[in-house]
C-alpha cells in the first residue's frame, strides 16, 4: 500500500528551504502559494528523499472566493504519495504556473482544467481547449456557469 505522507511533516521539511511558500498544511495536504509552486514542485520531484517522479492527477475546485488546484504526487521509488494544493484568487483571469516542464503528463490534465474551469497555466506549450470545441462560450465546471 502506498503510504500517504503527512502534510505537516513535509511542510516542516519544506520550510527549511523555502520561506513563505507554505500557506497551510494539514495531515492530508499542503497548500503552496502560486508564486513559489514551481520551485517547490521541482524540489519535491528531484530531491532524492522525496523523489515524486509520477504525477497521478491534477484537479481543480471552484470555491467561489478562489480556485484550488490539487496535484496528486506519487513516488514510485519510495512508494509514498502526497497531495499538494495551490490557490488562485483572481476569478476573471486566473493564472497558475504550469508543471509540464517537470511532468510531461501534466499537459492534457492542465488543458482539461483550462477547458472546463477556465484557469490558464503560464508556460504551457499548447494551452487550448481539449474536450469542447473552439468557440464554445464559458467554462462549464465553474459554479456560476448557467
Amino acid at each position: 500500500m502506498t503510504v500517504a505522507l503527512s502534510g505537516i511533516e513535509v511542510a516542516r521539511k519544506l520550510a527549511e528551504h523555502f520561506t513563505g511558500a507554505i500557506v497551510e498544511s494539514s495531515e492530508k495536504a499542503i497548500v503552496i502559494s502560486a508564486e513559489q509552486l514551481l520551485p517547490v514542485m521541482d524540489y519535491l520531484k528531484n530531491n532524492p528523499e522525496m523523489a515524486f517522479s509520477f504525477l497521478s492527477d491534477i484537479t481543480s475546485t471552484d470555491y467561489f472566493d478562489y480556485f484550488e488546484i490539487t496535484y496528486q504526487l506519487t513516488s514510485l521509488e519510495h512508494n509514498h504519495k502526497l497531495t499538494v494544493k495551490t490557490r488562485c484568487y483572481d476569478r476573471h483571469k486566473p493564472v497558475v504556473p504550469s508543471v509540464t516542464g517537470l511532468w510531461q503528463g501534466a499537459n492534457f490534465m492542465e488543458r482539461e482544467i483550462f477547458d472546463l474551469m477556465g484557469i490558464a497555466f503560464s508556460g504551457h506549450p499548447t494551452l487550448k481547449r481539449i474536450f469542447l470545441w473552439e468557440g464554445f462560450e464559458g467554462h462549464p465546471l465553474r459554479k456560476d456557469y448557467l
Binding site: 499548447t126 481547449r129 474536450f131 469542447l132 470545441w133 473552439e134 468557440g135 464554445f136 462549464p140
Partner: protein, 215 residues
C-alpha cells in the same frame, strides 16, 4: 510525412481548431430540429405489378439478410453490442457477422452510445460515406433522446438531430435481446420496402406530347 508537412504549412494547430469549432457551431445551428424518420414509404399505396413485387421481395431479402454494420460506437452501449455480436447471442444468425471498418462497405449504422457535439461531424461524415441503401438503428437512451445527458451543453439530444433514424431501441443500455429485436424490426421494415422501379404508364407514354395538355 509529406502530407503532414504540407498540412502544417497550410494550417497551424490553432487554425485547425478554429475550423473545427466553426464546423461544430454550424452543425449545431443547423440541427436544432429533428430529422423525420425515413418511413413515409411504409404507408404508401403500392403501385407495382406481380413480377416487380417478386423482384422486390428478392432484393429486400438479399438486403435484409446481409446487413453489414458500420463502426460507430462512441460509448458504453458498445459493450452490449459486443455481447450481442459474439457467440452467446450471435448476430451472425442474421447475416451480419461482418463488421465493416470502412463505412463504404456498410449498410447499417448501429449508433451505440452518447454522441457529443464534438463527435457529431464525424458521425455525420461516416453516415454520408455509407452507400445507399443505408439504415440506422439508434441503440440506447442516449442515441434515442440524449438520455440522462439530454440537457448537457456537450451532448446531442438524440441522433435524429444529425442523421435519419429507422429504428429506436430504448434502454440504458438495452440488453442484447432488445438489440436483436430492433434488428428484426428493421428487417421487417426492409421487407416492406419497395424499390425505385416504377411501372411506366404506357397509355400516357404513347400519347403525343401536345395531346396530353388538351386531354
Amino acid at each position: 510525412m509529406e502530407i503532414e508537412k504540407s498540412l502544417s504549412a497550410t494550417y497551424d494547430s490553432k487554425s485547425i481548431d478554429i475550423l473545427e469549432g466553426a464546423e461544430i457551431e454550424a452543425l449545431k445551428a443547423s440541427s436544432a430540429g429533428v430529422i423525420p424518420d425515413p418511413d413515409e414509404w411504409l404507408n404508401e399505396e403500392i403501385k407495382r405489378n406481380i413480377f416487380l413485387t417478386t423482384l422486390d421481395w428478392a432484393i429486400n431479402w438479399a438486403r435484409r439478410s446481409s446487413l453489414w454494420p458500420a463502426v460507430s460506437f462512441p460509448a458504453c452501449c458498445a459493450m452490449e453490442f459486443m455481447s450481442a455480436f459474439v457467440a452467446r447471442f450471435d448476430l451472425a444468425r442474421f447475416g451480419m457477422e461482418n463488421m465493416r471498418s470502412s463505412p463504404r462497405q456498410a449498410d447499417l449504422m448501429i449508433t451505440a452510445g452518447t454522441l457529443t457535439w464534438k463527435m457529431a461531424p464525424q458521425i455525420k461524415r461516416v453516415y454520408e460515406q455509407m452507400a445507399e441503401p443505408k439504415w440506422v438503428i439508434a441503440m440506447g437512451a442516449c442515441a434515442c433522446s440524449g438520455g440522462i445527458f439530454a440537457n448537457s451543453y456537450a451532448v446531442v439530444p438524440g441522433y435524429n438531430h444529425i442523421i435519419p433514424v429507422d429504428v429506436y431501441v430504448p434502454g440504458c443500455p438495452p440488453r442484447p435481446e432488445a438489440l436483436l429485436y430492433g434488428i428484426q424490426t428493421l428487417q421487417k421494415k426492409i421487407a416492406r420496402m419497395h424499390n425505385t422501379i416504377t411501372v411506366p404508364d404506357l397509355k400516357k407514354a404513347l400519347e403525343p406530347e401536345g395531346v396530353q395538355g388538351s386531354a
